[in-house]
């Protein structure tokens, strides 16, 4: 009975993942080998979908662009997220205040993302708040065009959406650092940067790893942000898939999906080599 116990406890989890993850992904793989015409799927085993996909220079361009978005977003969210987590963990001392600040950070996310995306136009647009403010202050004379519908705005939106996914795991690991270690470091004569580099950073590595996985995966799979914030001017693999799906070219979309999945798995596997998230949580 006790030997069966863990299985009973994990059975619901296993069941959900089997039905809603394994089977669907398996289906994607199967369909990616199907043939299709303008109207229907033709069960078959053909490699044309992959051939068309990987012989097109656009595919490679799009994959590179996706990695580019993921890379920059990762660097920026890490840069900001680390210090935000640091501030919450080490500067803010009051537990209630800490919680209030955390919740304040999440409030904007309770407004539907689509509405927030629409709101970037009047915020960053030619006649938007930011440009009018800057012109009003005399900082610029002409509205800045690159603020909206550009790679800049895409990354800005990503940073806006995903920084918290970096903050939370880093904050979590920082809170687990034994404060006596920091005191010991100070007693041993370590300065701020030395403590940071030699004590805090190594100990927060797992948090950084988990946060990085979140951010990179979320950015790589995105399609809505890229489309809306670039004004349809930029592409990502996700967007390409959703376009193919929109045109009902399911096998092409599935082949592309398998490609994206492999890319994501490779990146994450590389990250997992650096941190063992199960042990370090």
């Amino acid at each position: 009975m006790t030997r069966l116990f863990p299985w009973i406890q994990t059975a619901p989890l296993a069941l959900v993942l089997a039905v809603f993850l394994l089977v669907p992904v398996g289906m994607l793989v199967v369909v990616s080998f199907y043939d299709y015409d303008a109207f229907s799927l033709i069960p078959a085993f053909v490699l044309t979908n992959y051939q068309e996909l990987f012989t097109s220079p656009v595919t490679w361009q799009t994959y590179l662009k996706t990695i580019y978005f993921a890379g920059i977003t990762w660097a920026v969210t890490l840069g900001i997220g680390f210090w935000i987590a640091y501030h919450l963990a080490f500067v803010v001392q009051n537990a209630t205040l800490r919680m209030v600040l955390f919740i304040l950070c999440t409030v904007p996310f309770w407004t539907s993302n689509l509405i927030r995306m629409i709101a970037w136009v009047p915020f960053l647009g030619r006649n938007g708040i930011l440009n009018s403010t800057l012109i009003g202050m005399g900082a610029i004379e002409q509205p800045l065009e690159f603020l909206l519908f550009s790679d800049f705005s895409v990354i800005l939106a990503f940073v806006h959406l995903y920084t918290l996914f970096m903050v939370v795991p880093i904050f979590n690991t920082m809170m687990r650092i034994d404060r006596r270690l920091l005191e010991a470091a100070r007693d041993a004569g370590a300065g701020f940067w030395q403590t940071l580099w030699c004590v805090i950073l190594p100990l927060t590595k797992p948090g950084i790893g988990i946060g990085s996985i979140f951010v990179v995966v979320l950015v790589m799979g995105d399609f809505a942000t890229v489309r809306l914030m670039s004004g349809g001017q930029s592409a990502s693999v996700g967007l390409m898939i959703s376009n193919q799906y929109g045109a009902m070219q399911y096998p092409a979309a599935a082949a592309n999906a398998v490609g994206l999945l492999l890319m994501v798995l490779l990146v994450v596997a590389a990250m997992l080599r650096i941190v063992d998230i199960r042990r370090e949580l």
């Binding site: 799009t62 136009v121 519908f149």
Partner: protein, 424 residues
């Protein structure tokens, strides 16, 4: 077994109703089986263009059953209709989408002998020509995908048959929208979209089946590509069209590409864009905010689109009859007038005319100056006395349609190339 009893009486009632419909004896709504039909819910999938709550309310009032509307964007309508067909009873879908959806077998044809006003439908849908003299426009015209030979056919009939794929409900002639206050010169041709003066202030829409047609209109107007048939391009023609789009994109001509109606309104109203492909009610929406916006008629003519209601394959029995009741109702006037008042066109004109004031009909359909203020469905003043509709009358606008939104033979290749353009 009360269930059985009910179904028997239902069937009896249906037979009666069917007979009544067939004989054309039914003139008003609701009909004899009004009591049964009250419990019926028809689930309709469509875009926000015509998935309008006031229509559902009127259906409830006139027919007694519930019309449950699900709205989503153009691409998603086609996807959901094809992949989640069991979730819906009626698809309110565009003709170029039906070209892909119908052959998947998720829909059943509409028996036009059960549609009383079938012969009153505007001839664009039944013969392909607005008047016997006019030419059939290029592209996926509603006529070319409007009929099938029999109930199980998966290919479209080449001529009119008693079985329709979609019952036409709404259509329009599209052109470029401009901000007359910001473009600073008269706009006369599709190629003006590429004028370097509008660098960074132009936009086209990013729904491949529609966007490629706008692009083709521009390319042809600029003399860059000569098409044998814009609506059915060869690979070489697609290559050339996309190449010129990519060139313009790289040169920074476009500010953005829009996908939903709302985006086009916001782009225009905020001044991000001064010239772009646009839909008629979007122009009206910009204007209603006190911002000048013109739906500019162009020398080359219009690109048109049309939508209709299709029946999902699984509909049967009382539900199917309710659906036919609804289709008949759609042509009977109220809905047509409601859509005409928003700048669209209805499939049967006379019944809609009966529901509109002379002033409304004159402004929207005949190109006459408004004799008094034109009021929007929500009660706001839309156009002041004396205003004339951009492009003029129904005949002037629909008569100058040169192509329809399209799904081409080389669709698979086209979507690939379109993705290339977006990624470039």
């Amino acid at each position: 077994m009360t269930d059985k009893k009910i179904s028997v009486t239902r069937r009896g009632a249906l037979a009666l109703a069917g007979a009544a419909l067939g004989s054309g004896a039914v003139t008003g709504f609701p009909t004899i089986w009004a009591q049964n039909i009250r419990n019926i819910t028809l689930r309709q999938l469509g875009t926000g263009v015509s998935g309008l709550n006031p229509i559902a309310e009127q259906v409830k009032k006139d027919l007694g059953f519930t019309l449950q509307l699900t709205v989503t964007d153009t691409d998603a309508v086609a996807q959901r209709a094809a992949t989640q067909s069991r979730s819906f009873d009626i698809a309110d879908i565009e003709y170029f989408s039906i070209k892909k959806v119908y052959p998947t077998g998720v829909m059943q044809p509409i028996d036009t002998t059960k549609i009383k006003l079938a012969d009153k439908i505007v001839p664009i849908f039944t013969t392909g020509k607005l008047t016997p003299q006019s030419a059939v426009a290029q592209g996926t015209s509603p006529y070319s995908v409007g009929f099938v030979e029999n109930a199980t056919a998966k290919t479209f009939a080449t001529q009119r048959t008693p079985l329709m794929t979609l019952l036409p409900t709404i259509y329009n002639a599209d052109t470029l929208g401009i901000r007359p206050d910001l473009v600073g010169r008269p706009i006369t041709h599709w190629k003006d979209l590429l004028d370097p003066a509008f660098k960074g202030r132009a936009s086209i829409l990013n729904i491949p089946g529609i966007g490629i047609m706008d692009a083709a209109m521009v390319a042809e107007s600029a003399g860059l590509v000569k098409y044998a048939d814009k609506g059915n391009m060869t690979r070489a023609e697609i290559d050339k069209t996309v190449a010129f789009l990519i060139e313009a994109k790289r040169a920074g001509q476009f500010r953005a590409f829009w996908k939903t109606f709302d985006e086009s309104v916001n782009l225009m109203a905020s001044g991000e864009v001064v010239i772009q492909s646009m839909w008629s009610p979007a122009v009206a929406a910009v204007r209603s905010r006190g911002i000048a916006c013109t739906y500019q008629p162009l020398a080359e003519g219009y690109r048109a689109w049309g939508s209709g209601l299709g029946l999902m394959r699984h509909l049967s029995g009382l539900q199917l009859d309710a659906a036919y009741e609804y289709l008949n109702w759609y042509l009977s006037g109220w809905a047509g007038a409601f859509l005409n008042r928003q700048g669209y066109y209805s499939a049967v004109l006379e019944t809609a005319k009966a529901q509109m004031t002379e002033n409304e009909w004159g402004y929207w359909m005949e190109g006459k100056p408004a004799a008094s203020d034109i009021i929007a469905p929500d009660g706001k003043v839309m156009e002041k006395t004396g205003a004339v509709r951009d492009g003029g009358s129904f005949q002037e606008r629909m008569g100058r349609v040169v192509c329809w939104n399209s799904v081409m033979g080389e669709d698979r290749y086209m979507v690939q190339k379109w993705n290339e353009f977006i990624a470039a």
